[in-house]
Protein backbone atom coordinates (compact mmCIF):
# COMPACT_ATOMS: atom_id res chain seq x y z
CA UNK A 1 0.00 0.00 0.00
CA UNK A 2 2.43 2.61 -1.21
CA UNK A 3 1.32 6.12 -0.56
CA UNK A 4 2.58 9.24 -2.28
CA UNK A 5 3.39 12.50 -0.53
CA UNK A 6 1.26 15.46 -1.60
CA UNK A 7 1.83 19.01 -0.40
CA UNK A 8 -1.22 21.06 0.43
CA UNK A 9 -1.61 24.74 -0.45
CA UNK A 10 -4.50 26.99 0.48
CA UNK A 11 -5.70 30.56 0.65
CA UNK A 12 -8.11 31.53 3.39
CA UNK A 13 -9.99 34.33 1.70
CA UNK A 14 -10.31 35.85 -1.74
CA UNK A 15 -7.27 38.10 -2.18
CA UNK A 16 -5.06 36.15 0.28
CA UNK A 17 -1.73 34.60 -0.59
CA UNK A 18 -1.67 30.91 -1.46
CA UNK A 19 0.41 29.31 1.30
CA UNK A 20 1.82 25.89 2.02
CA UNK A 21 -0.27 24.56 4.92
CA UNK A 22 0.83 20.93 5.16
CA UNK A 23 1.00 17.54 3.50
CA UNK A 24 -0.84 14.26 3.21
CA UNK A 25 0.12 10.75 2.20
CA UNK A 26 -2.35 9.38 -0.35
CA UNK A 27 -2.73 6.66 -2.96
CA UNK A 28 -3.66 8.97 -5.83
CA UNK A 29 -4.86 12.47 -6.68
CA UNK A 30 -8.46 11.74 -5.75
CA UNK A 31 -7.67 10.41 -2.29
CA UNK A 32 -5.15 13.22 -1.79
CA UNK A 33 -7.93 15.76 -2.40
CA UNK A 34 -10.18 14.07 0.15
CA UNK A 35 -7.45 13.63 2.78
CA UNK A 36 -6.30 17.23 2.39
CA UNK A 37 -9.82 18.62 2.67
CA UNK A 38 -10.61 16.48 5.73
CA UNK A 39 -7.22 16.85 7.43
CA UNK A 40 -6.84 20.61 7.08
CA UNK A 41 -10.38 21.53 8.02
CA UNK A 42 -9.41 24.14 10.60
CA UNK A 43 -10.47 26.97 8.26
CA UNK A 44 -13.15 27.55 5.63
CA UNK A 45 -10.62 27.84 2.83
CA UNK A 46 -11.49 29.91 -0.22
CA UNK A 47 -9.14 27.74 -2.27
CA UNK A 48 -7.16 24.58 -1.64
CA UNK A 49 -4.86 22.64 -4.00
CA UNK A 50 -2.68 19.57 -3.67
CA UNK A 51 0.44 18.82 -5.64
CA UNK A 52 2.51 15.69 -5.73
CA UNK A 53 5.75 16.52 -3.92
CA UNK A 54 7.88 15.08 -6.72
CA UNK A 55 6.25 17.54 -9.16
CA UNK A 56 7.59 20.52 -7.28
CA UNK A 57 10.69 21.83 -9.02
CA UNK A 58 13.11 23.57 -6.67
CA UNK A 59 14.52 26.71 -8.21
CA UNK A 60 17.31 27.86 -5.95
CA UNK A 61 17.96 25.04 -3.45
CA UNK A 62 19.41 21.65 -4.21
CA UNK A 63 18.69 20.34 -0.72
CA UNK A 64 15.60 20.14 1.47
CA UNK A 65 12.47 17.99 1.26
CA UNK A 66 11.39 19.13 -2.21
CA UNK A 67 14.81 18.61 -3.79
CA UNK A 68 15.18 15.27 -2.00
CA UNK A 69 11.78 14.05 -3.19
CA UNK A 70 12.52 15.10 -6.77
CA UNK A 71 15.94 13.54 -6.91
CA UNK A 72 14.61 10.30 -5.36
CA UNK A 73 11.89 10.14 -8.04
CA UNK A 74 13.82 11.33 -11.06
CA UNK A 75 17.41 10.66 -10.14
Amino acid sequence: MNEIVYDVFARKDRGDTLVHIGYVDAFDDETAKVYAWKTYDEERWFEMCVVERTAIIPVNRNEGVFANARSAAHG
Binding site: M1, N2, V5, H20, I21, G22, Y23, V24, D25, F27, K38, T39, Y40, E42, E63, G64, V65, N68
Partner: protein
Amino acid sequence: MSPFTEEELIEKVQSGYMVEGPEDMTEGYRKALRVQLTVQADTELMSAPSYWMAARYAPSTNTQVSAHAIIQDELAHANIAYRLLEDIGESKEKLVYGRQPHEFKHPYGFDQPLDNWADLVVANGFFDRAGITLLSDVYQNTSYAPLKRALVKIDMEETFHLRHGEVWMRRLSKAGGEAKEMVQRSVDWMFPMTIEWFGLPDDLKRHSGQLDYKLKGLTNDQLRQVWMDSTVPLCKELGLDVPAHWDEEKQEYVLDYPFPCQYDASEKRWAFDEGEITWDDVFERWKGRGPMNEIYVESVQRSRMDVRRWLDGKAA
Protein backbone atom coordinates in the same frame (compact mmCIF):
# COMPACT_ATOMS: atom_id res chain seq x y z
CA MET B 1 25.55 15.66 6.39
CA SER B 2 25.37 18.66 8.68
CA PRO B 3 27.53 21.67 7.91
CA PHE B 4 27.81 22.21 11.68
CA THR B 5 29.36 20.48 14.68
CA GLU B 6 27.03 19.75 17.62
CA GLU B 7 28.38 22.75 19.52
CA GLU B 8 27.99 25.06 16.53
CA LEU B 9 24.40 24.00 15.93
CA ILE B 10 23.50 24.41 19.62
CA GLU B 11 24.96 27.90 19.58
CA LYS B 12 23.16 28.78 16.35
CA VAL B 13 19.70 27.56 17.45
CA GLN B 14 20.10 29.32 20.79
CA SER B 15 20.64 32.53 18.78
CA GLY B 16 17.47 32.02 16.72
CA TYR B 17 18.62 29.89 13.76
CA MET B 18 15.73 27.82 12.35
CA VAL B 19 16.43 24.30 11.11
CA GLU B 20 14.52 23.54 7.88
CA GLY B 21 15.43 19.93 7.20
CA PRO B 22 17.81 17.00 7.68
CA GLU B 23 20.49 18.81 5.67
CA ASP B 24 20.85 21.32 8.52
CA MET B 25 20.88 18.75 11.36
CA THR B 26 23.60 17.11 13.34
CA GLU B 27 23.04 13.51 14.40
CA GLY B 28 22.40 14.64 17.97
CA TYR B 29 19.74 17.10 16.83
CA ARG B 30 18.06 14.50 14.61
CA LYS B 31 17.93 11.97 17.45
CA ALA B 32 16.48 14.47 19.94
CA LEU B 33 13.89 15.62 17.37
CA ARG B 34 13.03 12.00 16.50
CA VAL B 35 12.32 11.21 20.16
CA GLN B 36 10.19 14.34 20.58
CA LEU B 37 8.18 13.76 17.39
CA THR B 38 7.68 10.07 18.14
CA VAL B 39 6.19 10.86 21.55
CA GLN B 40 4.00 13.54 19.95
CA ALA B 41 2.82 11.32 17.09
CA ASP B 42 2.18 8.27 19.30
CA THR B 43 0.26 10.37 21.83
CA GLU B 44 -2.01 11.82 19.14
CA LEU B 45 -2.49 8.38 17.59
CA MET B 46 -3.32 6.55 20.82
CA SER B 47 -5.69 9.27 21.98
CA ALA B 48 -7.87 8.31 18.99
CA PRO B 49 -8.86 4.75 20.04
CA SER B 50 -9.07 5.90 23.63
CA TYR B 51 -11.56 8.66 22.72
CA TRP B 52 -13.23 6.53 20.07
CA MET B 53 -14.14 3.75 22.50
CA ALA B 54 -15.42 6.36 24.96
CA ALA B 55 -17.46 8.23 22.33
CA ARG B 56 -20.12 5.51 22.59
CA TYR B 57 -21.05 7.10 25.94
CA ALA B 58 -21.97 10.37 24.23
CA PRO B 59 -25.41 11.43 25.46
CA SER B 60 -26.78 12.73 22.12
CA THR B 61 -26.16 12.72 18.39
CA ASN B 62 -24.70 16.24 18.69
CA THR B 63 -22.21 15.12 21.30
CA GLN B 64 -21.40 12.08 19.15
CA VAL B 65 -20.49 14.52 16.39
CA SER B 66 -18.25 16.65 18.64
CA ALA B 67 -16.58 13.57 20.16
CA HIS B 68 -15.86 12.17 16.70
CA ALA B 69 -14.69 15.56 15.41
CA ILE B 70 -12.07 15.47 18.17
CA ILE B 71 -11.02 11.95 17.16
CA GLN B 72 -10.71 13.06 13.53
CA ASP B 73 -8.49 15.95 14.61
CA GLU B 74 -6.27 13.65 16.68
CA LEU B 75 -5.75 11.28 13.75
CA ALA B 76 -4.90 14.21 11.48
CA HIS B 77 -2.38 15.47 14.05
CA ALA B 78 -0.86 12.00 14.26
CA ASN B 79 -0.56 11.82 10.46
CA ILE B 80 1.15 15.21 10.38
CA ALA B 81 3.66 14.21 13.08
CA TYR B 82 4.46 10.89 11.35
CA ARG B 83 4.97 12.78 8.07
CA LEU B 84 7.42 15.07 9.83
CA LEU B 85 9.20 11.92 11.01
CA GLU B 86 9.32 10.59 7.44
CA ASP B 87 10.97 13.81 6.34
CA ILE B 88 13.82 13.10 8.77
CA GLY B 89 14.24 9.53 7.54
CA GLU B 90 11.83 7.46 9.64
CA SER B 91 9.16 5.15 8.24
CA LYS B 92 5.52 5.81 9.14
CA GLU B 93 4.66 2.29 8.02
CA LYS B 94 7.11 0.83 10.53
CA LEU B 95 6.22 3.25 13.30
CA VAL B 96 2.45 2.76 13.08
CA TYR B 97 2.15 -0.84 11.88
CA GLY B 98 5.50 -2.40 12.65
CA ARG B 99 5.74 -1.95 16.40
CA GLN B 100 4.48 -3.99 19.30
CA PRO B 101 1.99 -2.24 21.63
CA HIS B 102 4.55 -1.76 24.40
CA GLU B 103 6.95 -0.05 22.00
CA PHE B 104 4.75 3.02 21.47
CA LYS B 105 5.91 6.12 23.33
CA HIS B 106 2.61 7.72 24.38
CA PRO B 107 2.00 8.51 28.04
CA TYR B 108 0.59 5.93 30.44
CA GLY B 109 -2.66 7.94 30.66
CA PHE B 110 -3.60 6.73 27.16
CA ASP B 111 -3.27 3.12 28.26
CA GLN B 112 -6.25 3.54 30.57
CA PRO B 113 -9.92 2.90 29.84
CA LEU B 114 -12.30 5.86 29.65
CA ASP B 115 -15.39 4.24 31.11
CA ASN B 116 -18.10 6.86 30.83
CA TRP B 117 -18.93 10.34 29.49
CA ALA B 118 -17.38 12.04 32.55
CA ASP B 119 -14.09 10.22 31.92
CA LEU B 120 -14.08 11.39 28.31
CA VAL B 121 -14.79 15.06 29.03
CA VAL B 122 -12.28 15.19 31.91
CA ALA B 123 -9.74 13.58 29.56
CA ASN B 124 -10.47 16.42 27.10
CA GLY B 125 -10.15 18.93 29.94
CA PHE B 126 -7.00 17.47 31.50
CA PHE B 127 -5.12 15.43 28.88
CA ASP B 128 -5.77 17.87 26.03
CA ARG B 129 -4.76 20.72 28.35
CA ALA B 130 -1.50 18.84 28.94
CA GLY B 131 -1.13 18.51 25.17
CA ILE B 132 -1.66 22.23 24.66
CA THR B 133 0.74 23.06 27.50
CA LEU B 134 3.48 20.94 25.94
CA LEU B 135 2.84 21.89 22.32
CA SER B 136 2.40 25.64 22.97
CA ASP B 137 5.80 25.60 24.58
CA VAL B 138 7.20 23.77 21.55
CA TYR B 139 5.49 26.22 19.19
CA GLN B 140 6.94 29.24 20.98
CA ASN B 141 10.44 27.85 21.30
CA THR B 142 11.18 25.18 18.72
CA SER B 143 14.10 25.64 16.36
CA TYR B 144 12.55 23.14 13.90
CA ALA B 145 10.63 25.26 11.40
CA PRO B 146 8.44 22.50 9.82
CA LEU B 147 7.13 21.59 13.28
CA LYS B 148 6.45 25.21 14.19
CA ARG B 149 4.38 25.61 11.02
CA ALA B 150 2.45 22.39 11.65
CA LEU B 151 1.59 23.41 15.20
CA VAL B 152 -0.53 26.39 14.11
CA LYS B 153 -3.33 24.06 13.05
CA ILE B 154 -2.80 21.60 15.89
CA ASP B 155 -2.96 24.28 18.58
CA MET B 156 -6.16 25.70 17.12
CA GLU B 157 -7.86 22.31 17.21
CA GLU B 158 -6.56 21.23 20.62
CA THR B 159 -8.09 24.43 22.00
CA PHE B 160 -11.47 23.24 20.71
CA HIS B 161 -10.98 19.87 22.46
CA LEU B 162 -10.13 21.63 25.68
CA ARG B 163 -13.18 23.88 25.41
CA HIS B 164 -15.34 20.81 24.81
CA GLY B 165 -13.92 19.19 27.95
CA GLU B 166 -14.29 22.25 30.13
CA VAL B 167 -17.81 23.10 28.97
CA TRP B 168 -18.94 19.59 29.83
CA MET B 169 -17.04 19.49 33.15
CA ARG B 170 -18.85 22.71 34.06
CA ARG B 171 -22.22 21.42 32.95
CA LEU B 172 -21.96 18.14 34.87
CA SER B 173 -20.51 19.80 37.97
CA LYS B 174 -23.22 22.45 38.10
CA ALA B 175 -25.88 19.76 37.88
CA GLY B 176 -24.63 18.36 41.21
CA GLY B 177 -25.67 14.94 42.52
CA GLU B 178 -24.53 11.91 40.57
CA ALA B 179 -23.32 14.02 37.61
CA LYS B 180 -20.87 15.89 39.82
CA GLU B 181 -19.82 12.73 41.65
CA MET B 182 -18.94 11.13 38.32
CA VAL B 183 -16.77 14.11 37.34
CA GLN B 184 -15.08 14.05 40.74
CA ARG B 185 -14.30 10.35 40.30
CA SER B 186 -12.72 11.04 36.91
CA VAL B 187 -10.75 13.97 38.35
CA ASP B 188 -9.50 11.77 41.20
CA TRP B 189 -7.66 9.40 38.87
CA MET B 190 -6.85 11.76 36.02
CA PHE B 191 -5.36 14.67 37.98
CA PRO B 192 -2.38 12.69 39.33
CA MET B 193 -2.20 10.84 35.99
CA THR B 194 -1.63 14.14 34.17
CA ILE B 195 0.79 15.44 36.80
CA GLU B 196 2.88 12.31 36.24
CA TRP B 197 2.62 12.74 32.44
CA PHE B 198 5.06 15.68 32.57
CA GLY B 199 7.79 13.28 33.68
CA LEU B 200 10.78 13.41 35.95
CA PRO B 201 11.21 16.40 38.25
CA ASP B 202 13.96 18.78 37.12
CA ASP B 203 16.38 17.78 39.89
CA LEU B 204 16.33 14.18 38.62
CA LYS B 205 16.02 14.88 34.89
CA ARG B 206 18.54 13.18 32.71
CA HIS B 207 20.08 15.32 30.03
CA SER B 208 18.01 14.98 26.86
CA GLY B 209 19.33 17.74 24.63
CA GLN B 210 15.80 19.01 23.91
CA LEU B 211 16.50 22.27 25.74
CA ASP B 212 20.01 22.60 24.25
CA TYR B 213 18.70 22.14 20.72
CA LYS B 214 15.79 24.45 21.50
CA LEU B 215 13.19 21.82 20.74
CA LYS B 216 11.29 23.06 23.78
CA GLY B 217 11.62 26.00 26.14
CA LEU B 218 10.29 25.01 29.55
CA THR B 219 11.43 22.28 31.92
CA ASN B 220 9.17 19.46 33.15
CA ASP B 221 8.49 21.18 36.47
CA GLN B 222 7.72 24.48 34.77
CA LEU B 223 5.30 22.74 32.40
CA ARG B 224 3.61 21.00 35.34
CA GLN B 225 3.11 24.41 36.96
CA VAL B 226 1.65 25.87 33.76
CA TRP B 227 -0.84 23.01 33.60
CA MET B 228 -1.82 23.40 37.26
CA ASP B 229 -2.12 27.15 36.85
CA SER B 230 -5.14 26.59 34.58
CA THR B 231 -6.46 23.34 35.95
CA VAL B 232 -6.51 23.95 39.71
CA PRO B 233 -8.49 27.25 39.54
CA LEU B 234 -10.96 25.67 37.09
CA CYS B 235 -11.59 22.73 39.43
CA LYS B 236 -11.93 25.05 42.42
CA GLU B 237 -14.46 27.16 40.53
CA LEU B 238 -16.46 24.01 39.76
CA GLY B 239 -16.32 22.81 43.37
CA LEU B 240 -14.14 19.82 42.45
CA ASP B 241 -11.45 18.64 44.86
CA VAL B 242 -7.92 18.32 43.53
CA PRO B 243 -4.87 17.24 45.55
CA ALA B 244 -2.89 20.47 45.00
CA HIS B 245 -2.93 24.04 46.30
CA TRP B 246 -1.26 27.40 45.72
CA ASP B 247 1.61 28.02 48.14
CA GLU B 248 1.94 31.76 48.83
CA GLU B 249 5.42 31.42 50.24
CA LYS B 250 6.83 29.36 47.38
CA GLN B 251 4.70 31.18 44.79
CA GLU B 252 3.88 27.92 43.08
CA TYR B 253 1.41 25.05 43.15
CA VAL B 254 2.24 22.30 45.61
CA LEU B 255 0.94 18.74 45.52
CA ASP B 256 -0.94 17.42 48.56
CA TYR B 257 0.02 13.79 48.04
CA PRO B 258 3.22 11.79 47.84
CA PHE B 259 4.68 12.27 44.36
CA PRO B 260 5.30 10.01 42.61
CA CYS B 261 3.06 7.29 43.99
CA GLN B 262 1.71 3.93 42.92
CA TYR B 263 -1.41 3.47 40.80
CA ASP B 264 -3.82 0.55 40.85
CA ALA B 265 -5.00 0.45 37.23
CA SER B 266 -7.72 -2.13 37.82
CA GLU B 267 -9.28 0.00 40.58
CA LYS B 268 -8.37 3.30 38.88
CA ARG B 269 -7.05 4.47 42.23
CA TRP B 270 -3.86 6.18 43.37
CA ALA B 271 -2.29 4.69 46.50
CA PHE B 272 -1.72 7.99 48.33
CA ASP B 273 -1.74 6.11 51.65
CA GLU B 274 1.17 3.88 50.61
CA GLY B 275 3.53 6.85 50.37
CA GLU B 276 6.13 7.96 47.87
CA ILE B 277 7.73 5.54 45.43
CA THR B 278 10.83 6.02 43.28
CA TRP B 279 10.83 7.14 39.66
CA ASP B 280 12.34 3.74 38.82
CA ASP B 281 9.10 2.24 40.15
CA VAL B 282 7.16 4.63 37.91
CA PHE B 283 9.24 3.71 34.87
CA GLU B 284 8.63 0.05 35.60
CA ARG B 285 4.86 0.65 35.73
CA TRP B 286 5.00 2.67 32.48
CA LYS B 287 7.10 -0.03 30.83
CA GLY B 288 4.53 -2.67 31.80
CA ARG B 289 1.94 -0.49 30.06
CA GLY B 290 -1.68 -0.08 31.12
CA PRO B 291 -4.74 -2.29 30.69
CA MET B 292 -5.87 -0.88 27.30
CA ASN B 293 -2.47 -0.71 25.60
CA GLU B 294 -2.83 -3.84 23.47
CA ILE B 295 -6.49 -3.21 22.71
CA TYR B 296 -5.88 0.37 21.54
CA VAL B 297 -2.84 -0.51 19.41
CA GLU B 298 -4.58 -3.55 17.95
CA SER B 299 -7.56 -1.38 16.97
CA VAL B 300 -5.22 0.82 14.94
CA GLN B 301 -3.26 -1.99 13.32
CA ARG B 302 -5.72 -4.85 12.85
CA SER B 303 -7.00 -4.40 9.31
CA ARG B 304 -3.71 -3.48 7.73
CA MET B 305 -2.52 -7.02 7.03
CA ASP B 306 -5.97 -8.27 6.01
CA VAL B 307 -6.46 -5.57 3.41
CA ARG B 308 -2.90 -5.92 2.20
CA ARG B 309 -3.55 -9.63 1.67
CA TRP B 310 -6.77 -8.89 -0.22
CA LEU B 311 -4.93 -6.50 -2.45
CA ASP B 312 -2.34 -9.20 -3.04
CA GLY B 313 0.54 -6.83 -3.31
CA LYS B 314 -1.22 -4.31 -5.51
CA ALA B 315 -1.11 -0.67 -4.42
CA ALA B 316 -4.30 0.28 -2.56
